[in-house]
């Protein structure tokens, strides 16, 4: 053994630095090359936490993984997702490949021009398999209805595609409403009261009363069923017409009197607990809680909850509130997410989605022999009976907030729904005026 043996040589500072630098470079290269290979079909999906996505998470993500997609599913609370994703898209932060948006957010993202043109990317919006009202929501500017200033002559672009076809339907207690789904609001209240008297339930109805989005979401199907219209084709407020006021009075008066005492502070978790816990007789809700109705682990009244089309006063129209997918222009794995969307919206995958218990977004999805949830055929009935999206405007969140505040105040009082709409109409008009809607 001599001094030339490298293992015997003393380690100088220079040798140590050289060695460390070499190791760092090797580690960087070694870390980068395989990571790129692994990213081949990586898709980072952002979603807000909602029960409506449970079948997708449980069944479709594993299926996607088996198809070679490396899915990272990032969930956030509903209240913070809009601002978080908008900041991500606008600042080109590139933290997501796919946003699962709430459909009223499409105009905000569309107007800001931060989403990819999915039509140009090869997704065919004119395919007749899409459910018409759902694919319509994917376009900015909208293909139908009024448009905001600056987009009057723009060509509608497919910036998002429907992802889960959620919409409101009625969930009711079949031991209270023994003749099937109550057809009118009068039925809901009258038969519900009988159910309370018989000790089967505590309250005929339950809904959300929290100011802003929750209360407006609960009021909207009542408003639509009374024949209300929100805006005319020039964005003039029309929700405070006679029909709208009748709906508001019914909502803050009769419905409150027949709902749990704390309904003013109820959000989706409390209203879900009331229907799944066996306290309430009927509710209009999205699929998130509805699909738990047969699960004994999630409800105290399994087998006693059925689904139906929303009650009508004039019409039986529900609110559409779908999950809709958009690819940010800053997506790090843009092509992967477009490939994923093509795979996801294919007839085969939509059939799997329906079998998993989620509401599909294509007609063929509804045609599966064995849908995974009893709600799915009812959702199709509701789509055929009538379902409308919320107004396609970038300022819907503010409009909803202004209206929700007034409705919430009237709900606290238990009366004054018509006056609340007048006050909301005034503030909404003032807001839209300064935002340039009538310029």
């Amino acid at each position: 053994m001599t001094d030339n043996n490298p293992f015997q040589r003393s380690l100088s500072r220079r040798t140590l630095l050289q060695g460390s630098a070499g190791l760092a470079v090797a580690a960087a290269l070694g870390g980068t090359v395989p990571a790129k290979a692994a990213d081949a079909k990586k898709v980072i999906i952002g979603a807000f936490a909602d029960g409506g996505l449970t079948p997708f998470k449980d069944k479709i993500i594993p299926l996607a993984k088996s198809q070679g997609f490396d899915i990272t599913f990032l969930e956030d609370e509903y209240g913070v997702t809009l601002e978080k994703w908008f900041a991500d898209a606008q600042n080109k932060a590139g933290q997501y490949d796919l946003y699962l948006l709430d459909d009223p957010w499409v105009p905000q993202f569309g107007a800001a021009d931060v989403l990819e043109d999915l039509g140009a990317a090869g997704i065919d919006g004119s395919n007749s398999d899409w459910i018409g009202p759902l694919i319509d929501m994917g376009y900015w500017p909208p293909r139908q209805g009024p448009r905001v200033k600056g987009f009057e002559t723009a060509t509608p672009t497919l910036v998002t595609v429907p992802f889960v076809g959620d919409l409101q339907t009625l969930t009711y207690r079949n031991d209270v409403f023994t003749d099937g789904a109550p057809a009118t609001w009068d039925d809901v209240i009258t038969k519900g009261k009988a159910g309370v008297a018989a000790g089967k339930i505590k309250y005929p109805v339950v809904f959300r009363g929290v100011t802003g989005n929750p209360i407006v979401t609960s009021w909207y199907p009542v408003f639509l069923s009374f024949g209300g219209e929100f805006f005319d084709d020039k964005w003039n407020v029309t929700f405070n017409n006679e029909k709208g006021k009748a709906a508001a009075e019914f909502f803050v008066g009769t419905m409150k009197q027949n709902a749990p005492p704390g309904v003013v502070e109820f959000d989706s978790d409390q209203e879900g607990a009331a229907i799944l816990g066996g306290d309430a007789g009927a509710i209009i809700q999205y699929s998130g809680n509805a699909i738990k109705s047969d699960d004994p682990a999630q409800t105290k009244v399994p087998g006693k909850l059925d689904f139906g089309v929303v009650p009508k006063q004039e019409k039986a129209i529900a609110q559409l509130g779908i999950f809709i997918a958009g690819v940010p222009k800053s997506a790090p794995n843009k092509q992967n997410s477009i490939d994923f969307l093509k795979w996801y919206t294919s007839p085969d995958t939509q059939a799997k989605l329906a079998e998993a218990g989620s509401i599909p977004v294509t007609r063929s999805g509804f045609a599966v022999k064995d849908p995974g949830n009893r709600l799915i055929p009812v959702a199709l009935k509701q789509l055929d009976a009538g379902a409308l999206p919320r107004p396609r405007m970038p300022d819907w969140a503010k409009v909803e907030e202004l209206l929700g505040n007034e409705l919430n105040k009237a709900l606290q009082a238990g009366s004054g729904g018509g006056d609340a709409l007048d006050a909301a109409a005034k503030s909404v008009t003032a807001y839209l005026t300064q935002a340039g809607y009538y310029a």
Binding site: P260, E265, A273, N408, K409
Partner: protein, 302 residues
């Protein structure tokens, strides 16, 4: 390097004027950091406050329009009123309770150390967690208060569904969480007071109340002023608890300026208007702080 080489090199540096520049060079990183994280955001915020934004982008310069609009906006005025009410009520209650607790805990008795530790626990819990706990207490459907009430044959307790009770509930939360801060500061102040005046008072036969009014309170004034100022500034920025507990509702009864500004900036994307709001809020807090500093000086002079 040899020993003789060092003076030569130093001379060269001095010759190049580097000696004079050295302090500035050493300060430069700190100055750059301050510019980047303090001055630039402030400048950017001020710039944004004079612009009209649509779809997340500045469209045009509107001068001071956003500031003028604030004072005719009923939502802003309501938020300002709610915030001032909340801060005044919370800080007043916290100060009184903090003072009482500090007076009690300033004495030495068995278990006092444990008691002092327990009393500051609320302050170290994350505000969001506190809000969630209070939500579980207040919820009318499954909350602790409702459970107690129903166990006693009563009705569900509705705290968050009524403007007055929701506001009071929010104040109660803040008092629970932040009284310990006042307690801690005042206790430290009490323990640093000189003992001679108190011994003299005792010799003179002064009672506890007289001693408190004539000695403790006057000597504690500077400490109290600092505590109140710190807490007031902090309370103006309260956000987490309200966001989780009430979201500003019912109606707009707990809509603090921080929540209103957050919604305006991020939910409704009126960035310019929100910037004007926050600048205004900053000016209000700054004015309060300056007034408090002047008050402190006056107290010290007295």
């Amino acid at each position: 390097m040899t020993a003789s080489a060092l003076p030569i090199r130093r001379e060269r540096l001095q010759g190049a004027g580097l000696d004079a520049a050295l302090p500035y060079l050493l300060l430069a990183p700190a100055v750059l950091i301050v510019l980047a994280v303090l001055i630039y955001p402030l400048y950017d915020g001020l710039r944004a406050s004079t612009a009209f934004y649509r779809y997340g982008k500045p469209l045009r310069d509107v001068g001071f329009d956003n500031y003028i609009k604030l004072w005719s906006d009923p939502e802003f005025l309501n938020s300002l009123w709610v915030t001032v009410s909340f801060v005044t009520l919370s800080v007043a209650i916290e100060t009184v309770l903090g003072l009482l607790l500090a007076l009690f805990c300033a004495r030495e008795f068995r278990g006092i150390r444990l008691l002092r530790t327990v009393l500051i626990i609320p302050m170290v819990i994350t505000p969001v967690v506190v809000a969630i706990v209070f939500r579980l207490i207040y919820a009318s459907d499954a909350g602790m208060l409702t459970a107690f009430s129903e166990a006693l044959g009563g009705q569900p307790v509705q705290i968050l569904g009524n403007p007055l009770t929701a506001f009071s509930g929010l104040v109660a939360l803040d008092v629970w969480e932040w009284t310990p801060l006042l307690f801690l500061i005042i206790l430290a102040g009490l323990q640093s007071l000189p003992v001679e005046p108190f011994e003299a008072a005792r010799v003179d036969g002064a009672g506890a109340w007289r001693t408190f009014i004539d000695h403790t309170l006057p000597m504690l004034r500077p400490v109290l002023a600092v505590a109140i100022v710190l807490r007031t500034i902090d309370a103006f920025g309260t956000f987490d608890q309200v966001f989780v507990l009430t979201g500003g509702g019912p109606g707009q009864s707990t809509l603090l300026l921080s929540i209103f500004g957050y919604n305006t900036a991020f939910k409704f994307q009126q960035t310019g208007y929100a910037a004007a709001l926050f600048v205004t809020m900053g000016v209000i807090v700054l004015a309060l702080a300056l007034a408090a500093v002047r008050l402190l000086k006056r107290v010290e002079a007295a």
